[in-house]
Subunit: 225 residues, 2 copies
Amino acid sequence: MVEQKIRLSVDAVVFGYEEGVISVLLIKRKYDPFKGKWAIPGGFVLNNESLETAVERELQEETGVKINYLEQLYTFGDVERDPRGRVVTVAYVGLVRPNTFKIFASTDASQVQWFTIDKLPELSFDHQKILHTAIARLQAKITYEPIGFELLDKKFPFSDLEKLYTTLLGRPIDRRNFRKKILGLNVLDELDKKVSKGSGRPANLFQFNQKRYFQLKKEGIIFEI
Amino acid sequence: MVEQKIRLSVDAVVFGYEEGVISVLLIKRKYDPFKGKWAIPGGFVLNNESLETAVERELQEETGVKINYLEQLYTFGDVERDPRGRVVTVAYVGLVRPNTFKIFASTDASQVQWFTIDKLPELSFDHQKILHTAIARLQAKITYEPIGFELLDKKFPFSDLEKLYTTLLGRPIDRRNFRKKILGLNVLDELDKKVSKGSGRPANLFQFNQKRYFQLKKEGIIFEI
DNA sequence: TCAAAAGTGTTAACTTTACACCCATGA
DNA sequence: TCATGGGTGTAAAGTTAACACTTTTGA
């Protein structure tokens, strides 16, 4: 048997949400191949680190993000996907709260930038395919797992959640029905605090109760929009 | 940067269904590590083959199965999952019709055998974890994608489908409601043929119309049980 | 007092569930 | 003619969808 010459990398599609806009974090590549082109952050896995550790390390190194939620997306292994040779990459989806940290470019990245998901630049490797797979996963997943909260502040007005879902699903949502449904799931705690956004009636703040969610999930109650 | 010493393998959890029983195909390992123990079929990816090709090749080599449906499951990359060193494996789920081929053991396998999924032997590596992930995927997926048909004969009596779902979901199904629902999805062609199983009224045969399914899927109609 | 965003219920349409008897065949 | 599995409809319960006005605040 010939020696295996496959290298393994990880890549992370990191989504952030702010004010009705979903963005993806991309880096500009400092080195060849695809020098000067945009790419999903990622890199080679070290011999003694888990895949998740590798993702977090690469993200930290290249961009400075603080990952809030991370899940494996898919493994891309086409023979010709990397001009340097055979590189198989395990792609992840990450969710972050962009307002809780400052991004910076470092190591392999000459720039880091948030891109609105409907104004993406040309990407390196097969990263467009990966990105589209990730967007599809995110859109599908928010309808059956409570991951939307990972994109919002810990305490948020209900309208933020509604707007997030409107944006991600790409269609309007009936406010009354949505509120009824979500509150009926019993995983949000309503706080006493209120917050006002410029003008208009101040909104009550809510907080996702993960503990209660896991409890309910164990009992077979499912989250579904 | 130190040289990467990670090897990449693929593994396939192959499910078959016959007469109310879901089985998994396992091999008995011919060589160390875990020599003589049961394992999911799989092996190392060659430098110039895609992951899917690798799965199909390994399955063919070790067991002789004819894969009917194959989908990527998850990539398992724990540092300590293989005693030989760092091996990351991309696991797949395969569905087959066991009555359409003959299994045989070859290359790394000293035996190949179908195991009912609730009478599994002790497994090598982290294969138990992989297998459980695969079972969960199969159970979840048959409720929102028409993959159950891949386990049945091309032409099947409705009761076979019903029994398959009963088995996989692990709960009884109302015959009338199930029939209404499935036929309402409009993806089954009713044939003129009938088949009789020993005694009782002969059943009409049905056939899954994949073309129509893809058509309907494109139009946004979703398969759901 | 006006503009802006938050909050709130009811009804009709639709979907899901529960349920039992007759039919066609082979032994 | 009996045993066996196949085939069929209806009504009640539950869920989803449609819809508009009042409240609270800041300017």
